[in-house]
């Protein structure tokens, strides 16, 4: 019976109830509501008289009975000591049927009618929403973490691992629960703390802006103790209580291995290049020695015994002398060719005009003998090895004069501004010209387009030109029309002064 509480105590108790900040409902032993405060009316949307006498399950459909039972097993004192903040979470039902989350704390109340239970009911909608938001944010963050291609490890200020993704499990070969709570030094023994300290000096924006590609390289340790190289990028993650650090950890074993292999290849290549250059030097020098003997003694033979033996002997000796001297030229040219690469000087600001004039000077005899007209436009300063530039002009001009048709040979050298801060040089002649399908071939080693009786030479002159131009970071090409002449073109970097 709801009115069986004595009048005095009822009034006093009612006053207390009304003063409480939470909704308060008093329930008797059979689960009927005997008393409620104003807070309870407004929270639940009932008038007081609508609720009094109703079962508590009308407003708290589930859990209250079980709660009661549980609390019933404890002493009143223990129940009273229970703080509402640690109360159980249930769901309450308003008159309009809508539900809202609550937290309730129960305390027993001795009365004439036996034990009554006072339930303090707190609406925790706002807190729940906040919690929900937090859970969602965390879920989103976790989603991001899992989606990352790298191993991600979140560490708190004490260096303890608080969050990892599946990649981290895979990379370090730990189960997630084995990693959580471990200190970061168990998977990254060295450098992480220092890295963290360094990063702390920067603003969060700077840290965020840092690309993983530029991250620092450290060594990581798997569960089985094996080590592997990593690159890590750290970014701070602030929440209300503390600063967490998210570490993106990339296994760079493959890259490291590739780097090592690349370096090995580079070493191997430069070693074999060096050997090759060395080989060409040694071969041409050492080949020259016995050849000098063959050549000298066949010449001595020719000189002393020509006409004293029979005509066959004279012819044989002549072939031997010719063969030896041609081989000598080949070896010398080969040596020049190999030394373009090995004995080249630094590329410096050089007057191409001066180099050209020196080349023309060196060719004085050839030019005079052929009656050739060698002219030039003003030529610019370029970045070159002067000795090689002289050689280049010399070979091209000599070639132009050599492959001539009857008439006055003319050779004209000019330069025009080209792309990429280069000068494009042209050496133009009015000679025999070259058929287009030979354009490539003429720059090869020992390539000759004519019979030996027509034109002498080893056929290495243009190969040397090509190598010189390539050493200067450019290319050489030819344009030609048979019977009209040829134009050889090559680029050279402009002088740094201009």
């Amino acid at each position: 019976m709801q009115n069986s509480i004595s009048h005095d105590s009822d009034a006093r108790y009612r006053g207390l109830l009304e003063a409480a900040p939470d909704a308060m409902v008093v329930v008797n032993g059979t689960g009927e509501i005997v008393l409620l405060n104003l807070q309870a009316e407004s929270r639940l949307g009932y008038r007081r008289d609508e609720l009094v006498g109703q079962k508590i399950t009308t407003i708290i459909p589930e859990g209250f009975a079980e709660r009661l039972l549980a609390d019933g097993t404890r002493s009143a004192a223990t129940a009273l000591a229970q703080q509402i903040g640690t109360g159980i979470e249930l769901s309450a039902l308003r008159k309009d049927g809508s539900a809202f989350p609550i937290e309730i704390m129960l305390s027993p109340l001795e009365s004439d009618d036996g034990i009554l239970v006072t339930a303090a009911i707190r609406d925790i909608t706002v807190r729940k929403a906040a919690e929900q938001h937090l859970v969602q944010t965390e879920a989103r963050y976790r989603g991001l973490l899992e989606a990352a291609p790298d191993a991600m490890v979140v560490v708190d200020e004490g260096g303890e691992i608080v969050l990892v993704n599946a990649q981290a499990e895979k990379q370090f070969r730990y189960r997630r629960d084995e990693l959580l709570g471990k200190t970061i030094t168990s998977i990254i023994p060295q450098g992480f703390a220092e890295r963290l300290a360094a990063d702390a000096q920067r603003s969060a924006e700077d840290a965020m802006a840092q690309q993983i590609g530029t991250g620092i390289e450290l060594t990581a340790c798997r569960k089985d103790g094996s080590e592997f190289p990593i690159e890590i990028m750290l970014s701070p993650l602030r929440n209300d209580e503390e600063v967490l650090v998210t570490a993106a950890i990339r296994d760079i074993s493959a890259r490291k291995l590739a780097e090592v292999q690349l370096q090995l290849k580079i070493d191997e290549l430069s070693r074999s290049n060096e050997e090759l250059a060395h080989f060409a030097d040694i071969a041409s020098h050492d080949l020259q020695e016995p050849l000098r003997m063959v050549s000298s003694y066949t010449q001595l033979l020719a000189r002393r015994y020509k006409g004293k033996l029979d005509s066959d002997a004279d012819e044989f000796i002549e072939f031997a002398v010719d063969g030896a001297s041609r081989m000598q030229r080949l070896i010398q040219d080969l040596l020049i060719y190999s030394r373009v690469g090995t004995k080249g000087k630094e590329l410096l600001d050089t007057s191409s005009e001066r180099a050209f004039q020196l080349a023309v000077g060196n060719l004085g005899g050839v030019i005079a003998d052929s009656g050739a007209l060698v002219t030039n436009d003003p030529l610019p300063d370029v970045c070159a090895d002067e000795i090689q530039l002289i050689q280049l002009f010399q070979n091209l001009v000599a070639n132009a004069i050599k492959y001539q048709k009857p008439g006055v040979p003319t050779v004209h050298v000019s330069a025009a501004r080209g792309p990429e801060n280069k000068w494009m040089f042209s050496v133009k002649d009015n000679g025999l010209g070259i058929e287009p399908h030979y354009f490539e071939r003429i720059f090869g080693m020992f390539q000759r387009l004519h019979k030996r009786e027509e034109f002498s030479g080893t056929g290495i002159g243009l190969a040397i030109c090509k190598k010189i131009v390539e050493r200067h970071g450019s290319t050489i090409s030819v344009a030609s029309q048979v019977g009209e002449g040829s134009t050889f073109s090559f680029g050279l970097a402009a002088s740094t002064q201009t």
Binding site: H285, Q288, E289, M293, S295, S296, Q328
Partner: protein
Amino acid sequence: MPTEVLLVEDSPGDVRLTQEAFREANIAIKLHVAEDGVEAMEFLRREGVHADAPRPDLILLDLNLPRMDGREVLALIKADDKLKSIPTVILTTSEAEADIVKSYHLQANCYLSKPVELEVFEGLVKSINEFWLTRAKLPKVWQIT
């Protein structure tokens, strides 16, 4: 008194070639040959079979020799008061800058590269004869007083 030249050269082909070239240049020259550095020093110091060797007016020294190479021979000659005044001409196939620098550092009187062409070589031998054995004034008395 004939002109005495010591040729220190291990290649028989080169020895013969040099003999032929000197024969063309100056028949009066007596060319002695040492095949390596050790023999060259024995000749110069008149040791063993070379007890009666003449003091050469000129030494033609190859650099790359068996047993004791030309650089050592040159160093020994130029450190020896009795020998240092003999003009010592390096005649070698090496064109390496390091060899040239080293030779002059060791007081070689002249450094010559053996030309590849026979005619050029003959011309060089003529020049040696003309300059070192004809025009250059060499000491007649070598004993330090």
